[in-house]
Amino acid sequence: MPQLQRKTNEKVKVKKEKELLGTLLSVMGVGLFVVLSWAAVYLLYLSR
């Protein structure tokens, strides 16, 4: 019985991670924007 319960909990966890794929990609998008902005101004710094 305890084994069965553990399996059920694991299932719920896996399902939840799948649900937040949009969240993960959104945060990655924010991170990418930060990196690209930083790189753009860094290139400006190098060019001067």
Partner: protein, 543 residues
């Protein structure tokens, strides 16, 4: 509805904040019109006088009064009516802060305190201006003590129960404010007041700027944390979702306390007299703030996605479409959140030593803080005011006012896109900040800046119209809207979320680590400043 006495207290703070917002906005409009060469100021009013009024009234007064008013309302909502001693202390704090605000405004209007928002030495104001600022800060400390007292009594009476998330965040916000303002209090009381009275001839510029920026950067987080409180606690309820994780929210606030204070040197990267190694150390700590910032971004996206999926949203980003875009209580803070993406990216650029040399003292920096405090924070505060003002006044947010609020938010966003966008671009071309209109004898490079300055004036004008609209909506919601019961939205935590570890409420631990980080980051460089102190400067009054 919260206790009527607490509603009155909160409304008192909000009233002063909106009056300050209106006066500061007039100064802002005039600044953009002068800077673009559109008008010349009449009656011997100075550009730098306006700049001081705009900065002090908006960055210090509007924000602080709004924040304290919002926190009191939320504390009363989540921990119950204020106890007698905290409420009396709060009114005393309000009286001191309001007195200080009136005194400071009078001296700015008399042109006796034209020292810009940063009141950097060697610019010198009347001693009364500095005395006024002391009143604002000490009054806010009384408010901090009062909130901590309320929290302490509540914890004792509930036998150390986990505090409500909103109240925990309020306590943390005021802890950050208190620790940060110790720096500005020290420079004002020990340096500026004796120097402006004439008790001493000279002031140590480096120490005064270091103490200012010890305060100046966490000040940004003092503005941001209440906006985050709205995002973490209020927004989930408004969109019909749940708080992603109570523990994550509290941990992010702990990290903001730890990493937003010992980082002032990133505002002084081009300041002589501080070694590169200490600047580097504080830049590393500055970059640590990215962690709780991305935690907040993750948490908010997760709230949106989870709520959207429950409503049946399909596809990778289908949940984005089902958000309540027509509800101004969501729309205004959401625009603030979206604007925080470029605002945060700009902040990381500013704090990077080499990149700082590209943008230092240019209009880029002005554009940057108009995205952070004047957009992310201001839009979130407007979104809060649209439901908090009628809630506290026993009135309702009507569909018509909701629609006007959405128009106001769009106008603010468009106006800021023009103004801040132009500031960012022309800053990259080298246009300086804190400068009245000049063509530098028609120098070709300065002439290239003129179209951007015109765009700033267009943006400034749109923003001012948005402020007029905001004033109308707030006035209507406070005095004219139909009587009724509004909801103070406080979200509940997701059932699946992990339990909150007790250690997150161990104040001795977090304040202790915070103090240790401050001592590590500042003790040796500060000692160097004293040991190799420059000769100091007499005061200057240019305008």
């Amino acid at each position: 509805m919260i206790d009527k006495r607490d509603a009155k207290l909160s409304l008192g703070f909000l009233s002063v904040s909106f009056i300050a917002l209106f006066i500061g906005a007039i100064a802002g409009l005039l600044q953009t019109l002068v800077r673009s060469g559109t008008i010349e100021l009449p009656l011997h009013i100075g550009y730098y006088q306006l700049l001081t009024a705009h900065g002090v009234l908006l960055a210090l007064i509007f924000t602080t009064f709004f924040i304290v008013g919002f926190l009191y309302a939320g504390i009363s909502k989540t921990m119950g009516a204020l106890y007698d001693v905290p409420r009396r202390t709060a009114w005393l704090g309000f009286a001191m802060m309001t007195f200080g605000t009136i005194l400071a405004t009078i001296f700015i209007l008399l042109n006796k305190a034209t020292v810009l928002y940063t009141f950097y030495a060697p610019l010198q104001a009347s001693p009364w201006f500095y005395v006024a600022l002391v009143h604002v800060v000490v009054g806010s400390w009384l408010c901090a003590f009062s909130m901590w007292n309320q929290y302490y009594i509540w914890k004792r009476r509930t036998k150390n129960k986990l505090s409500p998330l909103f109240s925990y965040m309020a306590v943390m916000t005021m802890a950050l404010w208190f620790i940060a303002t110790l720096g500005v209090a020290a420079t004002v009381i020990l340096q500026f007041i004796p120097w402006s009275i004439g008790w001493v001839d000279k002031i140590d510029i480096l120490i005064s700027r270091t103490l200012f920026w010890y305060f100046g950067h966490p000040l940004v987080y003092f503005w941001l944390l209440p906006a985050y409180m709205c995002w973490y606690v209020v927004i989930p309820k408004i969109i019909g979702g749940k708080i992603f994780s109570d523990a994550l929210a509290r941990l992010s606030f702990v990290l903001f306390l730890l990493f937003s204070i010992p980082v002032g040197f990133h505002h002084q990267l081009l300041e002589p007299g501080i070694s590169h190694s200490w600047k580097f150390f504080q830049v590393v700590l500055t970059f640590m703030v990215i962690v709780p910032s991305l935690m907040t971004a993750f948490s908010m996206f997760a709230v949106f996605e989870t709520a959207g999926r429950k409503k049946g949203a399909k596809g990778l980003f289908g949940w984005f479409k089902v958000l309540p875009w027509k509800d101004v209580r969501f729309f205004a803070p959401m625009m603030g959140m979206l604007i925080f993406v470029p605002a945060g990216a700009g902040g990381i650029i500013n704090a990077s030593h080499q990149l700082n040399q590209v943008i230092h003292n240019t209009l880029w920096v002005t554009g940057h803080f108009h995205l952070t405090v004047a957009s992310t924070v201001a839009l979130t505060f407007f979104g809060i005011a649209y439901w908090l003002v009628p809630y506290l006044s026993g009135r309702t947010l009507t569909p018509q006012m909701n629609k006007l609020g959405i128009i106001q938010t769009i106008m603010w966003t468009v106006g800021m896109a023009f103004m801040s966008g132009a500031m960012h671009l022309v800053g990259l071309f080298g246009a300086p900040r804190r400068t009245a209109y000049t063509t530098y004898s028609d120098h070709p490079q300065a002439m290239d800046w003129v179209p951007y300055q015109a765009a700033m004036a267009i943006g400034g004008t749109i923003l001012f119209i948005a402020i007029l609209l905001l004033m109308y909506i707030i006035g209507y919601l406070a005095f004219k809207a139909p009587k009724g019961e509004m909801d103070f939205p406080v979200g509940e935590v997701e059932e699946e979320a992990a339990a909150t570890p007790v250690i997150l409420e161990n104040w001795k631990l977090w304040v202790g680590i915070c103090a240790a980080l401050i001592l590590i980051a500042y003790t040796i460089p500060f000692w160097h400043m004293i040991e190799h102190g420059p000769p100091g400067s007499t005061g200057y009054k240019f305008w």
